[in-house]
Symmetry: C2
Subunit: 429 residues, 2 copies
């Protein structure tokens, strides 16, 4: 760990965003320390990893679309460098386990290289409609997307089933966004942690309980005393599964002697939904429940989103045969319980779209907390208090926006930085 | 462990049935050894524990009803003695956590003492109908039950909701079986293991792989070599939960030096769905998936069974606030995967009957294998091979029928023994 007072950035939060910032900062030659009680076990652990700015577009969120498209463009290089830094096999090209039905020209723009070690794939998203009402909504969305000049393709139900034969006969039509991609967020956080270790970046497995101030500026963070790490921090729990890449980490770390504080020249708040515990910032938890099904062979060859009588669901195939089904959106505060109602909703809609899911084994169900903001845009950049910066409030887009977030924070991207400036909120610290 | 050749019964299988047989046999002064790789973790671990011979009656199963009613009568004394032998607090009377709405006279006949330590409760079963078709079926069942002279009470939808205010407004009518009871099978197996320990009965945590023959009779069982215990025996796994009372047992035992065989005067096959691996016996696995929901306060004060457009579901309240929702019935062979379709079915029907379940946390989902027989009656008593006896094939009734099973095997009940005689099947070993 760098000596006290050195030029060091303290990154609070070890999700995809925080770890990405730490990695890019360290790579740029600056000293970094990450603070998180359980890196990779927050919202990133529950995330599906859709890199789908186009199919996720909504009527009110044109600025978010700009951010997403810009960040998606950065993903291939980001992923390739990450895989190299993490020591993952260099393999780019088609991801492992990709279904044979993947015959459509893959997108994400020319030169989008898939990265096998992160399960980064670019076969597009197919957005399908189930009922007549869903189809009408899809038609309107298609018209809106065409007006925006987005590269989407309108398909009949039959064309949808030609692309994805496991879709229900009752699927009435679809919209293909061939440029959309996806990645496995659990692999990304694992790779980021591996890369940080190779760069000798310390990851302090403790909870930051407050900011340290010195001479009117932020000078570091206070850490929870080790005692509080004996029991699990329930608000960060993400469900019954404890077999993730980092499951043994926090406990092992809790037995080490932890410092009381970590000091640095700058603190970057990347604590997701928990950011508001450390600073005045308009970020709230938006609960999402998500399910992983185990499939002997891939049911789908690309991401499928669907609207079933107005209720949304998406299915994301992983390279290892898993199928991710997500996600609820619930305003429940710091509640990470997996509920009967949440599971029911996911299962009901998933089986309407892809009846074959009923045969699959339930591998894992977790709930995570997205960091929502009033305008659904993230907070990236310095706040009002000297020594404090933000990389939080990414809501549903943390994985997609991670490369852009690091670029903005490192001053490599100025055009879009204004959209994410924390100062747009009056109350910000 | 008794010396080789001693008068010892070897009980193969450590579920509710096998452990009950071992306990009653040991209590009667005979030496016993139990063999099971993971006692209490098979079908008993997934069982809901309904002691409901009346509400479970079906048109073709009058003999099963006789067995059930006889065994239910034995439950209070069985439970009280078990609690005493296991060293549980003596508390009989209302079980802990019983809801305040339990105002109806409780049943199971006069003198049915509840046993708190086992969560043995006797507030009856309420069988409700959801749709018009369900109501018609319930009416017919009520007529049939009345013809059998069973003590049931026909209720309107409104009367059902007066008993159980959390029932959906759409519940159209019900049938109260005030004499039915229920118990927590996980507590029962834990108590049986504790009682066996106090009686110095050895429980060998290994898998029996075959019978030993000597001079034309069965003389014991061969055990799987310890090597095969290193990994989990997947076919006995009951889902993702590993926090049961006995979770640490098998692993700890696997590190001990295990014998290659256990010899005895008699082998009692109580291995449930796995019985057919050791002897010629017409027992097949019938898969059941079951879910435990965590409820801050009890939603129900008695067992509720329901028919939702022909699909059956039951909800069993536990003393600790848990609500058990069960169960699928699937002919899938030795398959204990928790599937998306199984969960969906349970959740769909449970929320139709009791909409409030959607708010509850999912604590645990497991799948178990019931030992089904061609006539749905158990196999209890000696087989054709000298030295071999059966206590298996209890299908959905293992917990209910455990007291009667021990009585038949110990020669304390002859009238009903004939119904369960293994010799009724020609192929039996």
């Amino acid at each position: 760990m760098p000596a006290k007072g050195a030029q060091v950035d303290v990154i609070v939060g070890g999700g995809v965003v925080g770890l990405s910032v730490a990695w890019r900062t360290a790579r740029a030659g600056r000293a970094v320390t990450v603070v998180d009680p359980a890196p990779g076990r927050g919202a990133s652990y529950a995330a599906a990893g859709m890199l789908a700015p186009v199919s996720e577009v909504t009527y009110t969120e044109a600025p978010l679309l700009r951010l997403g498209v810009a960040s998606l463009r950065r993903w291939p290089a980001f992923a390739a460098e990450l895989a190299a830094d993490a020591g993952l096999p260099a393999g780019t090209g088609p991801a492992a386990g990709k279904g044979p039905a993947s015959s459509v020209e893959s997108g994400a723009g020319p030169g989008f290289a898939e990265v096998r070690g992160l399960d980064l794939r670019a076969d597009g998203t197919l957005d399908v409609a189930f009922g007549a009402d869903d189809l009408a909504a899809l038609d309107e969305l298609a018209a809106y997307m065409e007006k925006l000049g987005l590269p989407v393709e309108r398909l009949t139900g039959r064309e949808c089933r030609r692309l994805e034969p496991m879709l229900a006969p009752s699927v009435r039509g679809g919209l293909l966004a061939p440029g959309d991609a996806w990645v496995d967020p659990r692999r990304v956080t694992a790779a980021l942690l591996a890369a940080l270790e190779r760069l000798d970046v310390p990851v302090v497995r403790a909870r930051a309980t407050g900011l340290l101030y010195e001479g009117g500026r932020v000078a570091g963070v206070r850490l929870a005393p080790p005692a509080s790490e004996d029991g699990p921090d329930l608000r960060r729990a993400t469900g019954p599964d404890t077999t993730g890449p980092d499951a043994a980490g926090p406990d092992a770390a809790a037995r080490e002697v932890l410092p009381h504080e970590v000091r640095g020249e700058r603190v970057v708040l990347a604590a997701g939904a928990w950011s508001s515990e450390l600073a005045e910032v308009p970020v709230r938890p938006v609960k999402g429940q998500i399910m992983r099904l185990r499939s002997p062979q891939p049911l789908l060859s690309r991401c499928v989103r669907g609207s079933v009588h107005g209720s949304s669901v998406y299915l994301v195939p992983r390279g290892d045969g898993e199928l991710v089904v997500g996600a609820t959106q619930e305003e429940m505060g710091f509640d990470t319980r997996v509920t009967a109602g949440g599971l029911y909703e996911l299962l009901r809609d998933a089986r309407e779209l892809v009846p074959g899911v009923t045969e699959l084994e339930v591998a894992d169900v977790v709930a995570g907390l997205r960091p929502g903001t009033p305008d659904n845009l993230p907070l990236i950049g310095p706040g009002r208090t000297p020594g404090l910066a933000y990389a939080t409030g990414h809501h549903r887009g943390g994985v997609l926006l991670a490369p852009l977030t690091t670029a903005i924070l490192l001053g490599e991207e100025s055009e879009l930085a204004a959209l994410c400036a924390p100062g747009r909120f009056r109350e910000i610290s």
